[in-house]
């Protein structure tokens, strides 16, 4: 009978743990509260099913435990019951899947007015690139990477000259504006992950992947790498700062452009060599 008690403890304890334990998602900072809602729906449906099944097993074990004079019931099949259970399951599945697919559709449909910026992963650090005044990111290719041009911008592309490159510093994004994050990697797989934004995406050398979101509150958040990328994986960190739009533009205007960096970089390197 101990097993009955344990099963009751598991059913009740799991629900209580869910409700009262201090560990739950971090407060959201993006427009993807829909994802949180879908998780909540899924918690409800799965929670009810889990508790029901565990309690049912507990009841069976209690009620039908072995007694010498007792005989099990002989009933190989019950088509009606099996049909009903299948139907109810299918309804539950649809109730979870439908909102999920609707939100996924939003997730993969980038709004037209989203402004793009680029995140580049590299063992084991993050770099960021914003389009300059022309609003366009210049073309880049891994083949063009050199010490002075770590992101591999193609010098012939005029759009790239005014791009702003941030290395070894925080990423900044404007509050309340949809942004499209373009993801590149120069060496291995990485994954740009900010828990508060509820979104992440792998970065693959040779490809440009993306996702989008709208920051909904100001603050500083951790950037983590979520794809095992070698020894430094756990230390591949950065910060993203959500700031009001005006502040964002003021900050961006002060950053040196790719063209400016190209002029100073050789000098710096020559200095370092001495």
């Amino acid at each position: 009978m101990k097993i009955v008690v344990l099963l009751l403890l598991i059913a009740v304890g799991s629900v209580l743990f869910h409700l009262v334990s201090p560990w739950y998602w971090t407060p959201i900072a993006s427009n993807w509260e829909y994802i949180d809602h879908t998780i909540t729906i899924t918690f409800w449906i799965t929670g009810v099913v889990f508790t029901a099944i565990v309690l049912f097993v507990a009841y069976c074990v209690y009620r039908f435990r072995y007694k010498p004079e007792q005989r099990a019931h002989y009933e190989p099949e019950n088509r009606r019951l099996e049909g009903w259970l299948t139907l109810v399951t299918a309804i539950g599945v649809v109730a979870m899947l439908a909102p999920g697919l609707i939100v996924w559709h939003q997730f993969v449909t980038v709004p037209k007015d989203a402004s793009a910026f680029e995140v580049v992963g590299q063992q084991w650090q993050w770099s960021y690139r914003y389009p300059g005044k022309d609003g366009k990111l210049g073309a880049a290719d891994i083949k063009h990477i050199t010490d002075e041009n770590p992101l591999g911008l193609i010098a012939e592309d005029p759009h790239g000259q005014d791009d702003v490159i941030i290395q070894g510093d925080d990423l900044k994004v404007p509050l309340g504006k949809p942004v499209k994050v373009l993801l590149r990697s120069v060496d291995v797989l990485h994954d740009f992950y900010v828990p508060e934004f509820r979104s992440k995406m792998d970065m693959i050398p040779g490809m440009v992947t993306y996702f989008w979101f709208t920051p909904t509150r100001t603050g500083t958040f951790d950037v983590l790498c979520a794809e095992l990328c070698g020894q430094g994986h756990a230390y591949m960190r950065s910060k993203v700062v959500v700031v009001p739009e005006a502040e964002f533009h003021a900050w961006l205007d002060q950053q040196p452009t790719f063209a400016q960096l190209q002029q100073t970089a050789p000098a710096k390197i020559r200095q370092a060599a001495k």
Binding site: W23, E75, G100, W104, I142, D187, P195
Partner: protein, 609 residues
């Protein structure tokens, strides 16, 4: 039916019910030309008897599984008490994760279910003398052993084993930033996997042919115990899925050794332009998961089958909805080949695939749910003996339902976005494909040990083992989901400073580590019990659980070479005639002719009538 003169007639749904005037045909197969061992070496070492091969497989799998268990202790110590063990640096930690994951999934669980239980149970449950190709079967084990030794060798190779994670994703898997990437670690891993697949294929062909061709008279497909259905379907799946892993390994080996670029785009590693170019890392992921997802069900389906038989036998009740169970197994097996990319929702593949794979993934939930309903409905109005196998079966239901339900989060593409690559995933797959199948393996060992050795395993030690393992594993992995919900990523050597992880989460980590140590220790008791009972276990007799299936009806216990005496058994009924109304006992063996049941029933009134 004529064989049961009184009591309610069992509904007319048992497939192939025997006509009343049925007489068994004469034994067609008197004595197969079996290889007869003459020396100790051919009897116990290079042995062609499926039963010995089964034990060799199981013993090797458990031994290497213990290594994986110890690795999990060490990893948990690092996570709960960072820096406590100085020798676990970043590299060592990633090597431990990789080998732990790979061993648990492939070299332990897959090997023990198919090579261990498959070899032991298929011929016995189907009334065959041995596997169809005994020599190939023997070879299968030795190639598997070689694969295991290769894996072990990587611990002693320069640079140690690979630390690429059990998914071995390129490009990092073969580059210098990953432990073993530019040394021999990754090479030994790939070669070991290639050998494993080759060895498995030899065994797998055997299991399939034996199920299709080796069944005894009267053993129709729809009379096979669900254990055989589960192992059979899993084997067919494995034969279709492992080739994807095989080619992926070969291609990666070429990339690493010959400089091809199947999976390698042009890239700059640590400021160095490498010679690779034009390959696709995502191609590897598709190949890996085309194997990897079916792999989940390759370990799940044998567990499904075995647990059905454990529940039915120990609840003294026929499995509820046998035909539905068979179809569910087949449906799950087929569907699991069209869901692989649910592991790749955030891999950067075309996001439109997300719609398709989310739908297929959630559809699989339906046949899976049916199986769960049928297990619990088998308990309903049963006569439940709380034996050790039954306890483990109950533990399986709880952990499997829990892990299956969290799968609905991860399968639902958009919900997976925040959760993928976090501890939520780690908790989910441990629950559903780690703990749940392992509980079945334990239950199955307690259940069949008496047949294998002729002795019962010690009950008191079994109780302790069950309680600590089941409750402990639940306490390890249930709270772990919430770490993932917080956002704690997986495969992190240490969490370090973050704004979103509260200090209390660290207390939870310590708790999980302590539980992991306790659960691990309980496994030592289990191994002790295995050995102790060999000598001191209670005598079991031929059929201690009063089970219906053929392996319990062998003339000798443990079964001798060739399994059966002069004649193979003939089968007259399905595997689940438990508590048939009017029958004298609460079980009727599959090989009991209808007439005999009738006479006996008319001589002595059934109890409770």
């Amino acid at each position: 039916m004529v064989d049961i003169p009184r009591g309610p007639t069992p509904p007319q749904i048992i497939p192939d019910t025997v006509p009343p005037d049925y007489m068994p045909p004469p034994a067609e197969v008197k004595e197969v030309e079996l290889y007869h061992a003459h020396s100790w070496i051919t009897k116990y070492v290079f042995c062609q008897d499926a039963k010995i091969i089964a034990l060799q497989y199981a013993g090797t799998a458990l031994a290497i599984g213990f290594v994986a268990l110890v690795l999990s202790w060490l990893m948990r110590l690092q996570l709960g008490f960072p820096g406590l063990l100085a020798f676990i640096d970043v590299n060592v930690y990633y090597q431990f994760i990789t080998i732990h994951g790979m061993v648990m999934v492939i070299y332990l669980i897959t090997a023990i279910f198919l090579g261990g239980f498959g070899n032991y149970l298929i011929p016995l449950m189907l009334g065959a003398r041995d596997m169809a190709f005994p020599y190939l079967n023997m070879l299968s084990y030795w190639v598997y052993l070689l694969a295991v030794l290769m894996l072990v060798a990587s611990f002693f190779a320069p640079g140690g084993p690979t630390g690429a994670g059990w998914t071995l994703y390129p490009p990092q898997a073969i580059l210098s930033g990953t432990p073993g990437g530019q040394q021999s670690g990754i090479l030994l891993m790939l070669i070991s996997l290639i050998l494993f697949v080759a060895g498995f294929t030899m065994g797998g062909l055997n299991y399939v042919v034996t199920v299709l061709q080796g069944r005894t008279r009267g053993m129709t497909l729809m009379r096979m115990p669900l254990t055989v259905w589960g192992i059979f379907t899993a084997t067919v799946m494995a034969l279709l899925a492992f080739p994807a892993l095989f080619v992926a390994c070969v291609m990666m080996l070429f990339d690493r050794l010959l400089g091809t670029s199947f999976f390698m785009p042009s890239l700059v590693e640590m400021g160095q332009h490498l010679k690779y170019g034009g390959g696709s890392p995502i191609l590897f992921q598709h190949l890996f998961w085309f194997f990897g997802h079916p792999e989940v069900y390759i370990v799940a389906l044998p567990a499904f089958g075995i647990v059905s038989d454990l529940i039915s036998t120990h609840a003294r009740k026929n499995i509820f909805g046998y035909r539905m169970m068979v179809w569910a197994i087949i449906a799950i097996g087929a569907l699991s080949f069209v869901v692989w990319a649910h592991h790749m929702y955030v891999s950067g593949m075309n996001p439109a695939f997300g719609f398709f794979f989310a739908v297929t993934t959630l559809i699989i939930a339906i046949p899976t749910a049916i199986k769960v309903y049928n297990w619990v409905l088998t308990l309903w109005r049963g006569n439940i003996h709380l034996t050790i196998p039954m306890l483990f079966a109950i533990g399986f239901i709880v952990t499997f339902v829990n892990g299956g339900l969290t799968g609905l989060f991860l399968g639902n593409v958009v919900v997976d976005v925040p959760l993928s690559d976090t501890m939520f995933v780690v908790a989910h797959f441990h629950m559903v494909m780690g703990v749940a199948p392992i509980l079945v393996i334990f239950g199955a060992i307690y259940h069949w040990y008496p047949k294998i050795t002729g002795r019962m395993m010690n009950e008191a030690m079994g109780q302790v083992h069950f309680w600590v393992t089941f409750a402990g594993a639940y306490l390890i992995f249930f709270p772990m989901h919430y770490l993932g919900l917080l956002g704690v990523p997986r495969r992190y050597y240490e969490m370090g400073e973050t704004a979103f992880v509260p200090p209390s989460a660290h207390t939870l980590n310590e708790f999980i580590t302590v539980m992991a140590l306790i659960v691990g220790a309980a496994q030592i008791l289990f191994v002790f019990n295995l050995l102790w009972s060999l000598r001191y276990g209670r005598d079991a007799g031929p059929n201690p659980w009063q089970a219906t299936t053929l392996e319990w009806q062998t003339p000798q216990t443990p079964p001798g070479h060739g399994n059966w005496g002069k004649e193979l058994p003939a089968v007259y009924r399905w595997a689940y005639d438990y508590s048939v109304p009017g029958a004298p006992e609460d079980f009727i063996p599959q090989n009991q002719p209808p007439q005999r049941a009738a006479t006996q029933a008319s001589l002595q009134p059934a109890p409770g009538e």
